[in-house]
């Protein structure tokens, strides 16, 4: 019996090849998209879950409360971990993890390792990072020890002989010994780097005062709790203890610290400490993936039910011969299953082909192979079976309950229920497509807006050199000044977009009432050339100047935001007011117009600028756009001459700033691709339905033509119905899309208003696409010879 069903199914597929291609193809493409989304979501959900002790690993993070602000930071200071660990037996182990850049010199080769870590000895015992050589307990205990990952070890020393070798780091200042080689850290790990320096290198060698420091927040801190420990209970014990040992310090510095434990597996998804929680994006992509699967499934259901009418005769005959209703239902379900499994196989093939492109699109290696996690393939299989059952259920139930007598008489009508269902599903499909079209428009508009908005400073033609302010910098600057293509030079601690070192400082300033007000300010160290070079507007007062010797110790420039917080309406009123910040004490000498030091996703923060006191690690050059290559070569030559231990490193301000929008751009292009897929699959379905309904009305069309209808009349007749559905879909989709995108935009401090014309354009686009799809069939029918179509009936 099964064989018989199988035969019928295959022959049916072959006889209606066109439909089969639309049907199976659409389903397979939809499944492929769904599967890739599944891989993506699965990957995102898997962050830090691969550690065998993941359920006991927590990140310790600090809330810093000052009189004016509250910061929820992901970091801890240098000593709190060891203090807590010795006090609370619930903490089994702990380690600091510092993310940093380390420059490395191997023989005569210089490398800059942007993804370097420093960590404590417990790292390899707490986390499942696999050490290939070296001892997990000791590899990171001694100062001046370094662990390399396999790739980096091979890069430095060739395969397999890195252990025990020495390297020079930090401008050749320190020699470190390779005490371990580890597997490359997994992509879904938050703690990720190519090389790991023992953190005791900092506390024992580089800066022994760190051991006595307090509230110097630089590192992430991780703890491993004992198996029976309840993290909430432990967390509650921190407060009194911290009060006991640091109460005095907190009081005198006007700063309250509170400590929290975040489960390591939740950080990537939910924590908004120093990062954007990813869970929203995951939801969005899950929904988009489901949408596409739904669209594909709807196609399948629609084409199957539409075609089922043709199968009525077969059903009638089988019933006359003795088939039970159940047997027939089983047959149709079986057929649906065969088609879905077929689509599944094609989807597996397509996914294999698409995976590398998808990884590129996602900007990370979501999966190395689609078979890496068999569970996902099985899920896809389960989804196929599910679609098969849902799509097969309708024909199975409806067809199998057809009355044989009526069917064989050709008396059954085109069931109006079936038509209504199909229309409803088409509306649903196009609603989803229109939502995705509108979403794409809004996302692109917002991304464009962010990249083209006036930032309040000029990021063009700026070349930034992270020189680290080493010996020789002044000489090099003198040498560079001779080049006419270098238009200006400045030094600073920081540049917009997160370049250099970023500091926030608790400051005390005189407000408009003449009182001292505490305020936490961003702090840029700059020189007198920075403000003109970056084209930042001065609103009142003056820039720093070499002519005033006191500028380097007693002067501060504030942005508008800062003076507003102090209550000054007119920038000029803020000039001459007193300030205290860290080691500096003096007066405000200038007010600058607000400019964006961060992406437009973030609100502009109060900013203070002080004149650098020797720790400006960035050299900023304004360069002419002409002879850029030559200028770069020129700079490189002097760099190598003055900084022989440092690899030549530079970035352009504009590209660097826009890099902040990388994730938005990626999001936009992923969204665009999925929207296009959704529309494509919807159109496949529409094409199938249109050609089917045209086929069914062949006789009617023939008669109408003989009676004198024009070709246009026929096209209109056939298209009007479908276009009505698309129009309804637009009406349904618009408010939903508006609501969804409106919520999405709330994450951006500076955002577009959703323009009304986006809905119009999306609507016209949807109708246009649908029209082209339908009229392809309609025109064919309209110009066909009516005599032919009547004869074949």
């Amino acid at each position: 019996m099964i064989k018989n069903y199988f035969k019928i199914a295959i022959r049916n597929l072959w006889r209606h090849r066109g439909y089969s291609v639309l049907n199976i193809g659409g389903l397979a493409i939809g499944m492929t998209a769904g599967f890739l989304v599944l891989l993506y979501v699965g990957f995102e959900m898997s962050y830090d879950s691969f550690h065998s002790k993941a359920d006991r690993l927590y990140r310790l993070s600090t809330d810093i409360k000052t009189p004016s602000d509250k910061y929820e930071t992901p970091v801890v200071d240098w000593n709190i971990l060891s203090e807590l660990e010795s006090e609370f037996p619930e903490i089994e182990m702990s380690t600091l993890v510092m993310g940093t850049d380390i420059d490395v010199k191997v023989g005569n080769e210089n490398y800059t390792e942007n993804r370097s870590l420093a960590a404590g000895a417990a790292l390899f015992q707490m986390f499942d990072f696999k050490l290939l050589e070296g001892h997990s307990k000791t590899a990171l205990s001694a100062p001046l020890s370094i662990v390399l990952d396999k790739t980096t070890a091979a890069k430095y020393f060739g395969d397999g002989n890195a252990m025990g070798k020495t390297l020079k780091i930090m401008d050749g200042k320190y020699s470190v010994t390779v005490t371990g080689v580890m597997d490359d850290m997994p992509n879904n790990s938050m703690v990720k780097g190519n090389i790991i320096l023992s953190i005791s290198t900092y506390t024992e060698v580089i800066d022994p005062t760190l051991k006595d420091s307090w509230a110097n927040f630089e590192n992430l801190g991780f703890v491993l709790l004992n198996p029976e420990t309840d993290a909430n209970v432990l967390e509650a014990k921190f407060k009194p203890y911290v009060e006991k040992i640091h109460g005095e310090q907190m009081k005198s510095s006007n700063m309250q610290l509170a400590y929290f434990l975040e489960p390591i597996q939740d950080i990537y998804l939910y924590s908004d400490r120093g990062s954007t929680p990813q869970i929203t994006n995951i939801y969005i992509f899950s929904i988009v993936g489901l949408f596409i699967l739904l669209i594909a499934a709807i196609n399948f259901i629609n084409l199957t039910t539409a075609r089922s009418v043709e199968r009525a005769k077969e059903v009638g005959i089988r019933k006359v011969i003795g088939a039970q209703k159940g047997q027939l239902a089983f047959q149709f379900l079986g057929e649906s299953l065969i088609i879905c499994l077929f689509a599944f196989l094609i989807a597996v093939g397509l996914s294999m082909l698409a995976l590398p492109y998808f990884n590129e699109l996602a900007g990370k290696v979501v999966a190395t192979s689609i078979f890496a996690k068999p569970l996902y393939i099985l899920s896809l299989l389960a989804i196929s079976v599910f679609i098969a059952i849902v799509a097969g259920a309708y024909p199975a139930l409806v067809l199998s309950s057809f009355k044989a007598v009526k069917v064989l008489k050709g008396k059954f009508s085109r069931s109006s229920k079936g038509i209504l269902l199909r229309k409803g599903l088409v509306v649903l499909q196009f609603s989803i497509s229109v939502i995705l079209i509108i979403g794409t428009f809004v996302i692109y508009s917002q991304t464009y807006f962010m990249q083209h908005q006036d930032l309040g400073f000029s990021k063009e033609q700026l070349l930034i050199l992270p020189t680290n302010n080493q010996n020789g910098q002044e000489e090099m600057q003198k040498a560079l000044a001779s080049n006419p293509d270098i238009l200006s030079m400045s030094t600073s601690s920081s540049v917009p977009g997160g370049g250099g070192e970023w500091q926030t400082a608790l400051s005390v300033l005189e407000n408009n009432m003449g009182q001292d007000q505490s305020l936490t300010l961003n702090r840029f160290n700059i020189d007198e050339n920075y403000i003109p070079q970056f084209d930042i507007k001065l609103l009142a007062g003056r820039n720093f100047s070499k002519q005033f010797a006191s500028d380097s110790t007693e002067a501060m420039i504030l942005n508008e935001k800062a003076i507003k917080l102090l209550g000054f309406a007119d920038p000029a009123d803020a000039i001459g007011k007193s300030f205290e910040q860290w080691d500096k004490k003096g007066t405000v000498i200038g007010v600058i117009k607000d400019f964006h030091i961060q992406s437009l996703q973030e609100e502009i923060m109060p900013l203070s600028m002080v004149m650098g006191s020797g720790d400006n690690k960035l050299l900023n050059l304004k360069v002419s756009t002409q002879n850029l290559g030559k200028t770069l070569g020129f700079i490189k030559k002097y760099w190598q001459e003055y900084f022989p231990n440092k690899s030549f490193d530079y970035f352009f301000m504009d590209a660097f700033f826009n890099q902040q929008y990388k994730s938005e751009e990626r999001f936009a292009s992923l969204f665009l691709n999925f929207a296009l897929l959704a529309i494509f699959i919807s159109c496949l379905g529409l094409l199938g339905l249109a050609s089917y309904s045209t086929l069914q009305r062949r006789r009617e069309i023939g008669i109408r033509k003989i009676l004198g209808s024009s070709a246009f009349g026929i096209v209109h007749l056939l298209s009007a119905d479908f276009l009505k559905l698309v129009a309804i879909a637009i009406l349904i989709a618009s408010p939903i899309a508006w609501y969804g995108m409106h919520s999405w935009l709330q994450d951006f401090a500076y955002r577009i208003d959703i323009p009304w014309w986006i809905f119009l354009v999306a609507g016209i686009l949807a109708i246009g696409i649908a029209l082209v799809t339908i009229s392809f069939q309609a025109i064919k029918a309209a110009i066909a010879n009516p005599v032919k179509s009547l004869r074949t009936e």
Binding site: M1, N4, K7, I8, R11, N12, R15, K313, E314, G316, I317, R318, K319, V320, I321, G322, A323, Q324, K325, Q327, K403, A404, V405, L408
Partner: protein, 230 residues
């Protein structure tokens, strides 16, 4: 074998209520060959559908092999049907996607016959109907007469006690029609009961008895040949 008494069937459409069968009564003995005749629309096909358990009467009684079957549910009807009744239609009603062999095999599949035995029985029937050489062809590749022979083969492959034929020669030319009638006669002589609807006096002559209908009622009965009960 068949006794119907006061059988009634109505069709209700929006405005008109059609009485398709109006208190129709007659008997058919086992082994008999009965022809049903009458003008178009008098209820012949309706009668045949009820006799074939494809449709339910609205009133009266229908006793089949001593069992009252009026009011049987669909499952029971299907069960009774597949073991006892074969159908032949004017428009052949073969499944286009199946070959000649597979079409004939189908009833055996539904009655649960084993594959090996199915092959033997289908081959035997195809041999008898002289279409063995066409067993791998699809219905569209056959002439009308050949298609009807396949349909007859399919009707008899389960050795039903009753064959219902609705204008079996209606779509055939006279020589093809005669071939089909000869086949039915052979089957009847071998013991199968046959009830055949026809418009052709010529075909009706092959039967033992002609029941003539008008407006859902029996008007006359002509006995053509002596039928000895078996």
């Amino acid at each position: 074998m068949i006794t119907i008494t006061d059988l009634e069937k109505y069709y209700a459409t929006e405005e008109v209520r059609t009485i398709a069968l109006n208190k129709l009564s007659f008997k058919v003995k086992e082994g008999e060959f009965v022809a049903v005749m009458g003008p178009s629309g008098c209820g012949k096909s309706t009668l045949l559908n009820i006799l074939g358990l494809l449709d339910d009467p609205d009133g009266g009684s229908f006793v089949f092999n001593g069992i009252e079957v009026a009011g049987f549910n669909e499952r029971k009807r299907a069960d009774l049907r597949k073991h006892n009744i074969g159908f032949v239609f004017q428009s052949f009603n073969l499944i286009d996607e199946l070959t000649v062999f597979e079409n004939v095999e189908l009833p055996l599949i539904y009655t649960g016959v084993k594959p090996a035995e199915r092959k033997v029985r289908v081959d035997a029937v195809l041999e008898k109907m002289q279409i063995m050489h066409r067993r791998k062809h699809f219905p569209q590749q056959l002439s009308g007469g050949q298609q009807q022979r396949v349909a007859v083969a399919r009707a008899v492959v389960n050795n039903p006690k009753l064959i219902l034929a609705d204008e079996p020669t209606g779509n055939l030319d006279s020589s093809n029609g005669n071939e089909v009638m000869d086949l039915l006669t052979e089957l009847n002589e071998a013991g199968t009961t046959i009830i055949m609807v026809t418009h052709s006096e010529h075909d009706a002559k092959y039967s033992h008895r002609i029941i003539r209908m008008l407006d859902g009622q029996k008007v006359t009965e002509n006995v053509l040949a002596e039928f000895k009960s078996v």
